[in-house]
């Protein structure tokens, strides 16, 4: 390599290394804690003296006060995430089809209403949502969180699906109509197959949104049977001498699925994100 190339490569590395460190240090720290024993965790070391998997065993066997409901919590997280994904996908796909392809009356108004919900910070909606769920008698039912998440995820989902759908040529619909398609046939046989990548991206988005959610989860669900893992983790903070290394082990388990799903679907997600959020 010529000197000039070497210099520019070095400049890139100069940026890359801090970025890498900055990004990974908190992640590494989780990992570090999760494989440490109680003593070495607090010794401030960079690598435990005796790395152990015992913490994970404790978690899986629910062998601690805060962990008694670990498996039911993880099950709740999963249930809520999948339910949110499925319902959001259904609601958003139908709405996007109606607005984009069927050009239904009032479509623009609904789209604007959805955008409004998307832009308003979720934390602001939390307070009224909490009160409303109480009124509906849904507090402490898993459905309250599912429906709240669907409400939060749908606007973005509809927006992304509408954008993707608008890119499909009009003549396909016209050809299908002339071929004799009913609206249902158009939806099922032409629209859905062509939207598959976006559908995957949206499902993943809603799934991760629900799995990662904390605020709404702890506001709406407090009963031991219904709380998802996120809230369970929050309980650890109740006392000062909680077993932090076990907390980190649990947290690692909690954080792995989103990381894995994100990695698996990163192609779909990046495309969906950048086309949906803001236009250049």
């Amino acid at each position: 390599m010529t000197n000039r190339k070497l210099l520019s490569e070095a400049k890139l590395w100069l940026v890359a290394i801090p970025v890498l460190l900055w990004t990974l240090i908190p992640i590494y720290h989780i990992f570090l804690f999760s494989i440490s024993t109680k003593d070495s965790a607090f010794s401030g070391r960079l690598w435990p003296e005796h790395p152990t998997l015992h913490n994970f065993v404790t978690v899986f066997k629910q062998e601690h006060f805060y962990l008694h409901h670990f498996w039911s919590q993880i099950w709740n997280s999963l249930w809520i995430a999948v339910a949110t994904g499925v319902i959001t996908l259904t609601v958003a796909t139908c709405a996007a089809f109606a607005i984009s392809r069927l050009k239904v009356k009032g479509g623009r108004t609904v789209m604007n209403a959805a955008l409004f919900t998307y832009f308003i910070p979720a934390a602001f909606l939390a307070v009224p949502m909490y009160k409303a769920m109480g009124t509906y008698g849904l507090l402490n039912s898993r459905w309250s969180l599912v429906l709240a998440m669907v409400t939060l995820a749908s606007p973005y989902a509809i927006w992304v699906l509408k954008q993707a759908s608008d890119k499909l040529p009009w003549e396909l619909d016209e050809a299908a109509r002339i071929d004799g398609a009913t609206p249902a046939q158009l939806f099922r046989l032409v629209y859905l197959p062509l939207m598959v990548p976006s559908l995957v991206a949206i499902f993943t988005y809603a799934l991760l949104l629900a799995w990662n959610e904390y605020l709404y989860a702890f506001l709406l669900l407090s009963h031991e049977n219904t709380i998802p893992l996120a809230v369970g983790l929050g309980h650890f903070l109740a006392s000062d001498d909680s077993p932090w290394e076990i907390l980190m082990a649990t947290a690692l388990i909690y954080g792995l699925p989103p990381a894995a799903i994100y990695y698996a679907f990163r192609g779909y997600m990046v495309g969906g994100l950048t086309s949906g959020a803001v236009k250049a």
């Binding site: 890139l12 940026v15 890359a16 970025v19 908190p26 992640i27 720290h29 989780i30 570090l32 965790a41 010794s43 401030g44 960079l46 609601v91 139908c94 089809f97 109606a98 607005i99 069927l102 050009k103 239904v104 009356k105 479509g107 623009r108 609904v110 955008l115 409004f116 832009f119 308003i120 910070p121 934390a123 602001f124 909606l125 307070v127 009224p128 949502m129 429906l147 709240a148 409400t151 608008d166 003549e171 619909d173 016209e174 609206p183 249902a184 991760l208 990662n212 605020l215 996120a230 983790l233 980190m248 947290a251 690692l252 909690y254 994100y262 990163r266 994100l273 950048t274 803001v278 250049a280």
Partner: protein
């Protein structure tokens, strides 16, 4: 009369009356409309109704916690959002370089955004623990300094909360700005090179003019969302010590905890004059782009 170009890909004119197609349209739109009415319109209306009592506001303004929160929020917004975007702008330029290892790095870089807040923010919280946290331990071991009380000094704690926010939100915005950069045709840069432009001049005369709108729109959107960033503060400090590190987002929840729903709503209403114009602006932008691209 000038000739009208009727675009071939224009949408068909809406069919007359309630044909099957219109009925289907309404049916398919109904689920979301239902969701919106039941879980947005009603709660928001009810919430606003709860916030109707002027007494709530008087109590609010007399509460010192409220004022600290407002100051914290303003500071948080000004510093965190702008710092985040300057970094995002810089890094977006870094990540568009076409190298395999940079692409791998970008996959890793997204992790903070993709993984849930609790594990990561707790992790940072523990790193910052003054007694046994990794940071202070290392500071002592390597430099013999007694590290500061990261989370019990209100100013430091706010600074840490901002860093946490940036850590989590930076990847997303970097991606967005990257997309903006990639939309700039390479030929512009090549022409600038031929014209003798330096790297800085290329940025000033080619990159920035193309990115300016996206940058500003994104910043505004981020202002709205950062205003609602509950996790960064709550999971790091919980608003402590002594409720001195609250922001408006966490303050609202604090009032719920104290069973003072009307105060909670009042807190949110107070922020609305700032939020609503921004939301309106964002919606106009997106609908405006809609009109342009559908012609």
């Amino acid at each position: 009369m000038s000739s009208i170009a009727i675009p071939h890909t224009a949408s068909p004119t809406p069919r007359r009356g309630l044909s099957t197609w219109q009925v289907w349209g309404l049916l398919l739109l109904a689920p979301y409309v239902l969701v919106f009415l039941v879980f947005v319109l009603y709660p928001v209306s009810y919430g606003l109704w709860l916030a109707r009592n002027p007494e709530s506001y008087r109590t609010l303004f007399e509460d010192p916690v409220f004022f600290t929160s407002v100051l914290n929020t303003i500071f948080f917004l000004l510093v965190a959002v702008n710092l985040k975007f300057v970094l995002a702008l810089y890094l977006s330029g870094f990540f568009v370089h076409e190298r395999r290892w940079i692409r791998w790095l970008s996959v890793i870089f997204i992790i903070p955004w993709a993984v849930p807040a609790i594990p990561t923010i707790f992790s940072i919280r523990f790193m910052l623990n003054p007694e046994w946290g990794v940071i202070n331990s290392l500071l002592f071991r390597w430099f013999q300094i007694d590290g500061p009380n990261w989370l019990t000094n209100p100013q430091l704690a706010m600074a840490m909360a901002m860093l946490v926010h940036i850590w989590k939100a930076l990847p997303f915005w970097t991606l967005i700005l990257m997309a903006g950069r990639l939309a700039i045709p390479k030929e512009l840069y090549e022409a600038a090179s031929v014209d003798g432009a330096t790297a800085w001049q290329k940025f000033k005369y080619v990159t920035w003019p193309s990115m300016r709108t996206l940058y500003i729109t994104s910043t505004l959107l981020s202002l709205i969302w950062t205003l609602g960033d509950f996790n960064s503060v709550y999971l790091l400090t919980g608003g402590q010590p002594a409720d001195k590190t609250h922001v408006l987002a966490t303050l609202g929840i604090r009032y719920i905890r104290l069973d003072q729903l009307d105060h909670a709503m009042a807190t949110i209403v107070v922020a609305l004059p700032f939020v609503l114009p921004l939301v309106y602006f964002m919606m106009k932008r997106l609908s405006g782009d809609e009109q342009k691209t559908s012609q």
